[in-house]
Symmetry: C3
Subunit: 207 residues, 3 copies
């Protein structure tokens, strides 16, 4: 199994769990769980594949991905009540999913010899759009909009780390690991310790 397929499977599995948790907050039935889990899990990678004009979207080429999302939905449907806070679990799982989906996007773009800005963007898209679709469909406040939290910024930094590692002639494995760790460290730091960048605040017009 290639590194890309491994990253894709890992991000699909973890994003599917977050989607199923969102479905549990919306009190859907089991098929609804599988629907939201699948949308979340493959949304970002599907957009990446369509934009890059791949011959086939990854989960159509390998329908086993859908088995993964359905299993995640089943698991959450029967065990989510054991969690103390489903929203907190969703946030932390989402941070893990982000940290594997960003390198999955970067890895594919690199393998297609895309220029650096496109690699950067594919990392961000693959990382963020599945969760964005989940939040828009489930009427949750999109995580990308949570004021002052590092989210898109974490994805951006992770993609940039991969590009820097590659420019320094490190192996693909090093580049993807740097990408995953940077993304996760920033997102987790934002969740746990409130790390943030300055946000825009409207001020009165200058005198």
């Amino acid at each position: 199994m290639t590194a890309l397929a491994l990253l894709d499977y890992a991000s699909v599995a973890v994003f599917a769990l977050t989607g199923a948790l969102a479905a549990s907050r919306a009190q859907l039935d089991l098929v609804g769980f599988a629907f939201i889990a699948s949308l979340t899990a493959v949304g970002g990678g599907t957009l990446r594949d369509v934009l890059l004009n791949r011959d086939a979207v990854f989960w159509i080429a390998q329908p086993a991905y859908i088995g993964v999302t359905a299993s995640a939905a089943l698991l959450v449907f029967f065990t989510a009540h054991l969690l103390e806070s489903r929203y907190r679990a969703l946030l932390w799982l989402d941070s893990l999913a982000l940290a594997v989906a960003v390198p999955a996007g970067v890895s594919l773009a690199l393998s297609l010899n895309q220029p650096a800005p496109i690699v950067l963007i594919m990392g961000i898209i693959t990382g963020t759009f599945g969760g964005l679709m989940r939040d828009v469909v489930c009427n949750e406040v999109p995580l990308v909009l949570k004021q002052g939290e590092l989210y898109v910024t974490a994805a951006f930094a992770g993609s940039a780390a991969a590009l820097i590692a590659q420019a320094l002639d490190h192996s693909a494995l090093v580049a993807l690991t740097a990408c995953a760790l940077t993304t996760w460290a920033l997102r987790a730091g934002s969740l746990a310790f409130g790390w943030r960048l300055p946000v825009y605040k409207s001020r009165p017009p200058r005198q």
Copy 2:
């Protein structure tokens, strides 16, 4: 006219009516009616065609579809005030549209020799995404999220019925009819008699 084209035209026409009804609830002008009607009517099939990498999206290959959506918008704009409840009409028309759009998705996926899980998913996507786009854009609660109603579940069961009929060596016509009837029976039963699957309910953690 092939069975696929017939199903596509029927689902486009009926989904367009539901989109125009949603536009009437948002009090748009005639062009706004046509916009939302078209988005709803072709949204699911467009996503299906893009995902399956068809040479051309169905309504670009045959722009007559757009005439259908515009006519539906016109019809609703001038007659919706005759309805007693526009939301009730929207719900029931949507159930019909679902019941023809699901076999339209299944039919195309079968004709491209896709494996069973992809056929299943294309039925669900074609059936549900047009209405989902309508609801997200019009700020209505997405029907796929209505707690306890059979919606994605009806689409899933319809797609599954087609696959079973096909596995039992029935003709395409039988398979697509089984698909449409199963989808509509479950959705209509849910609307009329409150049929439902058990939904997820958060419970206190076990002792």
Copy 3:
């Protein structure tokens, strides 16, 4: 630089400003500004390119577009506090962006020899979907839904003006200018003078 590339750059730049203004209303950080600015700026043209099955989406073929959206985000992040009303600025910039994005869509569809209805639709899609994505993601009321304002209608009239000019054998330059002016005149007239088409109003059922 071709007329199409010029229109694409102009609409990307101006839509990016509106996206960054929406990000300022959501109080995001700088990367969030760039994210929403890019989504808004390339959303409509990306959908157009995917639907028309172009070899590569325009901003993947020329990543310089992303430099434009990032610069716009930077500009707004550091200067938006100088504006008296950021929402008013957003509305007027959006009207300009609409007036260049519609001819950008029309121009591409004409260059691919698409039939008139598809040209019309590509103008509307390119003009409206970037702003629609911005509004859905940022939880603003979509401008396409603002009751009684000319928005989709302006895009529709602009596309139609281009088709009429072309049918009368005018040059592409005349057709695209007519398109831009018609779109902007109607949208600006709606913003400044309250121009509108009759909207649907529910009335009691006839006796």
